[in-house]
């Protein structure tokens, strides 16, 4: 192989053994360079709008409406953030969002893992029929169930309460159950048999074997549920009325209603709503991007 001029990685070095091959190597380098240029250019397409938002959020009001555009603020005006926080209780919104998203995640992980265990590992009459019915509910559009759920929440006095947003998550979900069931099916039965011989009952097996083994799947489901709940707009718009109960997404639209054209303040408020989730994303991003591959959410 070496005689015909091939490249062979040797640690970090490359052995280059013929001029013809050197030309090939240069071609490869150019190709790699081109790849990176493409990757970075597309990356900028996704980053640039955020950069514009950040830059706008630090401008003085006189720097917002200029022709031609002033791309960067002359002096970063951090007071914009203070003003936003003075005008609207964004701290409160963050706490509300955090509470709703956390409880929603806890509810979904708890009930979905229990039912996934039941559907994958226990035998009872009607099990598969119930599972099929559950799966078919995934096609129901949210809008079709929202009005009855609104009426139910009205009846039990949860309108304008955060509980209206998280309570349903404690009653399972088709998507979460399906995802975890897929994962539980791959757990070898030998483990269960061994545990049973050691005197474990079914709940022990769920708690001590299935939950620890499916941490990656639970984490993936968890981050998606958390993110979905954190960013949900329709639910808060329908169920919440008073500003002290608002979550970030509806709080931001309320702020938009008051400051229609004060773009420096609107962008500062948007930054406040985006930064917490981006911090969480920075720490959990492998569960998003790798998690989908791992759990096979792709049909």
């Amino acid at each position: 192989l070496r005689a015909t001029g091939q490249v062979r990685p040797l640690g970090k070095r490359l052995i280059v053994s013929s001029p013809r091959f050197r030309a090939k190597l240069i071609r490869q380098l150019i190709a790699t360079l081109f790849q990176y240029i493409l990757l970075i250019a597309i990356g900028l397409l996704f980053i640039w709008p955020f950069a514009w938002m950040a830059s706008s959020s630090l401008k003085a009001s006189s720097e917002v409406f200029t022709i031609p555009i002033q791309w960067l603020p002359s002096v970063p005006k951090w007071e914009n953030y203070a003003e936003v926080l003075r005008e609207m209780p964004f701290g409160r919104f963050i706490l509300n969002s955090l509470l709703v998203a956390t409880l929603t995640t806890v509810g979904q992980l708890g009930t979905c893992s229990l039912s996934a265990y039941g559907f994958s590992r226990l035998r009872f009459p009607g099990r598969d029929v119930i599972f099929m019915v559950l799966l078919s509910t995934m096609m129901i559009p949210y809008e079709a169930t929202l009005i009855p759920i609104y009426l139910i929440m009205f009846k039990i006095g949860l309108i304008d309460k955060l509980a209206a947003l998280w309570l349903p998550s404690f009653f399972g979900g088709a998507f979460g159950t399906f995802l975890l069931r897929q994962f539980f099916m791959t757990v070898p039965t030998d483990l269960e048999d061994a545990a049973r011989i050691d005197g474990c009952n079914r709940f022990d097996i769920y708690r001590r074997i299935f939950l620890p083994l499916s941490k990656p799947a639970l984490a993936t489901l968890g981050v998606f549920v958390f993110m979905g709940s954190w960013n949900d707009l329709l639910g808060p718009v329908v169920f919440l009325n008073h500003i002290q109960n608002f979550t970030l997404s509806i709080g931001l639209t309320a702020f938009q209603g008051y400051y229609v054209t004060e773009w420096h303040l609107l962008m500062a408020a948007s930054m406040i709503s985006v930064v917490p989730i981006l911090v969480i994303y920075a720490f959990t991003q492998r569960y998003f991007v790798e998690g989908i591959t791992l759990t096979g959410i792709k049909g």
């Binding site: 980053i47 226990l122 079709a144 009426l151 991007v289």
Partner: protein, 302 residues
């Protein structure tokens, strides 16, 4: 497989052991009865009444459905939803696949680039919508500024003109969701066995030929899945419309989902809104069923 380890109770149809299973799925069954299947049945009941705000409803048969069909706004709203779907779904599919092919290269730092492309997916729809309303501002926004200085074009009123508002919403939706589509395709691409490419390369196939005759056919199940979920989600688009246009200008961005919201929660025509919701449900169902029927002709399962 799992069933084998649990001995079947002979003679007794319901053993205590079997009943235990119901305990685990109890919350889910309650949720099914109250919040999904039960709620759908309830919504159908409401759609047969003249329920207004929180007054007492009266049964009026299929009148709401008849009124939806003859409502002069209805054809426009259906066309708007169709327009959005036609603009969003193919762009999302094609660009998502291209982005995934690029992000599937095993070059150094690729996971960083993937995370960057996924960034908009985790960002709230409200913040993204506000951000793009400002970016697309016709007078002071940077997009029109760039169009003018670089290409010498006077950019349109992106969100303020009836011709451009809907395409603009679709552009924003594609931008926000592309990372998710990319990850779905990445998962599909990683399932394609390397040996198949090897064999193709030995046969002398170029990279485009490899993509067309190996990657694409093996990816059809993923393409099918992405197609189904993006059609379903495009009929439910709400956040972008709510923040960027409120259905305007002149109803040009009122989608079915937004129209349901307006009827139910701004004007409190609960019966009427439920009827529209069922029309939407029906449309989504028909589309999905057609997809399932047609998939046999083009989806290739390994």
């Amino acid at each position: 497989m799992a069933d084998a380890v649990i001995p079947r109770a002979k003679g007794r149809p319901f053993s205590l052991q079997q009943l235990e299973g119901y305990v685990y799925i109890l919350p889910t069954i309650l949720g099914l009865l109250i919040f999904s299947a039960g709620a759908v049945a309830m919504a159908f009941g409401i759609s047969l009444t003249n329920y207004e705000s929180l007054g007492s409803p009266k049964f009026i048969g299929l009148n709401n459905y008849l009124n939806v069909i003859v409502d002069p706004v209805f054809p426009q709203v259906v066309l708007n939803s169709a327009y959005y779907t036609v603009a969003y779904v193919p762009a999302n599919l094609v660009l998502g696949l291209l982005l995934a092919s690029l992000a599937n290269r095993s070059v150094r730092g690729i996971t960083f680039f993937r995370s960057v492309y996924f960034l908009p997916v985790v960002t709230s729809g409200v913040a993204v919508s506000l951000m793009f309303t400002w970016l697309f501002n016709s007078q002071f926004g940077p997009i029109n500024e760039i169009l003018y200085t670089v290409l010498g074009i006077q950019g349109p009123g992106w969100l303020t003109s009836t011709e451009w508002a809907m395409p603009t919403i679709a552009i924003v939706a594609v931008w926000k969701g592309l990372g998710y589509t990319m990850v779905l395709f990445l998962a599909g691409l990683q399932d394609v066995p390397g040996e198949v490419y090897e064999a193709g390369r030995i046969d002398g196939a170029g990279s485009f030929a490899l993509f067309r005759s190996i990657t694409l056919p093996l990816l059809t199940p993923t393409i099918f899945f992405v197609l189904i979920i993006s059609i379903i989600s495009s009929f439910q688009v709400f956040d972008f419309v709510f923040v960027m246009t409120q259905g305007g200008p002149a109803n040009s961005t009122t989608t079915l989902a937004y129209w349901i919201y307006e009827n139910a929660f701004q004007w409190f025509h609960l019966g009427y809104a439920s009827a529209i919701a069922f029309v939407l449900f029906g449309i989504v169902l028909v589309f999905t069923l057609i997809q399932w029927r047609v998939q046999r002709r083009w989806v290739f399962y390994q």
